[in-house]
Subunit: 353 residues, 2 copies
Amino acid sequence: MPPPRKATKRRHSGPTITDVAREAGVAIMTVSRVVNGGSYVSPATEKRVKAAIRRLGYTPNEAARMLKGQRARMIGLVVPDLADSFFATCANAVQQVAGTHGYMTLIVTSERSVETESNEIAMMAARRIAGLLIVPSRVGADKRLRELEQAEIPLVALDRTLDGVDAGQVIVENAGGAEEAVRHLVAHGHRRVICIGYDAKVYTIHERILGYRRAMKEAGLKPELWTNVTTAAATEGLLRRLMNEPDRPTALFTLNNVTTIHALQAVRAMQLRLPADLAMIGFDDFELAPLLDTPLTAVRQPALELGRSAARMLFDMIRRSRDVGTDTKAERRIVLPTELILRASCGCNNHSS
Amino acid sequence: MPPPRKATKRRHSGPTITDVAREAGVAIMTVSRVVNGGSYVSPATEKRVKAAIRRLGYTPNEAARMLKGQRARMIGLVVPDLADSFFATCANAVQQVAGTHGYMTLIVTSERSVETESNEIAMMAARRIAGLLIVPSRVGADKRLRELEQAEIPLVALDRTLDGVDAGQVIVENAGGAEEAVRHLVAHGHRRVICIGYDAKVYTIHERILGYRRAMKEAGLKPELWTNVTTAAATEGLLRRLMNEPDRPTALFTLNNVTTIHALQAVRAMQLRLPADLAMIGFDDFELAPLLDTPLTAVRQPALELGRSAARMLFDMIRRSRDVGTDTKAERRIVLPTELILRASCGCNNHSS
DNA sequence: TACGGACTTGATAACGTTAACTGATAATTC
DNA sequence: GAATTATCAGTTAACGTTATCAAGTCCGTA
């Protein structure tokens, strides 16, 4: 039943170290030494070998190197979605740090699916990456992640926590940031402050909800929370319904970028005026927020710093795992602060940019 | 003088195919056959081997595979900047297509620097990527790119053209899109339509300038072009100067995303009203354009389709290069259309979303 | 005049995988 | 019943690189 596939031939594939050695009239080991440095090679031979390398346009085969060295000079990065500017910025930062270490970054998007995430981790494991940065889709660690852990591949969870494996963590003050924002709305005199969001199972959203609840409770107000509002249409439907109630809400807190934009679209479609008809603060700032119809007050997350810190932590762990003796399992956890950027949509009318 | 570095030891690195073979009591070749499929293996043996694989948590070492097969199951993608939503969307699309082929994507950012771009290409070459997608910083092909070409690694230029090497090309109708936009402004009655942009050496910008010039010439108007306006401050300075002239410009065409945003910031700072004081169209649409103070009319580029087409073309070339006979060098060039999205900033007042 | 070092090169054996053979049975065909 | 043909499993030889060992050469010193 299984048809034996036809044999595929192939040639070429650039010059190898052997070609260079022949060209320069030396042993391959000498070429290797010139390429990698750190050994005794006479200046004369070095010059000759380098000339041969240039002539042939030789590049070392990383696959072969890796096969010997056990681990690739690559790190992996798993993000839910690159089109989200927050994650794109993180990815950019990670890449820069990796570059300074001479590493490349294998970026994949999980598309918020646990299954693709799992597959992608497996593919990275097959590539023998030196370390993995991940924005986990679920708090519980995937089976594949535990396999990585067993293979002693350093792991850092980015933006969201990860349980069940020994991983570094770099996150932001989600609860605190949300609490500050809601408290600000309350300070503006709002009593009915509603909160809309996406998937409450995601760590960040969960934490922000905690912050919202805390601030509401502190003010003696009743939390009104709508989660799993995924589409723009659903957001508008919800908002229309609520705004038609007799004692309609006067303030809105949105739990992430996507929801914020959906809400803004709904607000425009409903021709509501911010902040007169509805005050609003969104979690996660974006470049165009100051240029909106009403400039949006938002909780800024330090995306660049987040990516950078996480990458640095990962390389620290990689270095540490190389030095056999020093495997001190230092507790690795960084929490970065958020910042409430006041613009007009909350009711303040100071700032313009 | 050169100090011989201390030897670094390492062990572990997960189970190998040999371990699986021993565990299952078969030859390693049998394991390989089970893993790769397509050969005769008895159901009983297959089951035994699969059980062993699961028990040990075996993942094939991609480095070793690659070493045999000459080429990694990875493609490279070079973009100027991931934080730009246009390129981020492209990257996302590329990644998805690669995933369906079982390939991973090595994404790097050139940060608009020719030098880092060159280095990154070299690193990818060392990783023996199967193909490369690139948004080239310069029209002339880098030396490294020519090396890739010599190694018969398929190449596709994305969004910008690339001369001097045999590469596929997937671009959008830059000149046509710009022409349409400017013509639209003229149709609204504007006589002094200025144009501001970034680096005119970049292919896309160059083409869009051509379109601008064509439309202006057609209308018998004098083109007024400012390039190399890189910062937000410079944009504002320029705009302030021009708007103070006696016969001040009434319409603005911006040549890319970044410039558009700078201009919007300047417009807000100067408290100009769009389109009453200044009509405006930007090249490259973005998600928040409808939600701006004045919704922005923009030339939409099909970023997703661009990335997808380019990736598909690349995999087509990869497949073709594998089948030895069929190396028909079909002219590879796709030009995707742009679309003028009418909103309020040009003077139209129909659409809201 | 050996002798121990600091240099400088080379030969060889892995690393983990798969392509290409080599043998075996069993099933099918004429 | 002999000759194919399909099915199944094992052996061997690479792929390109680097670690390790071995073997020089050239010094200065005991």
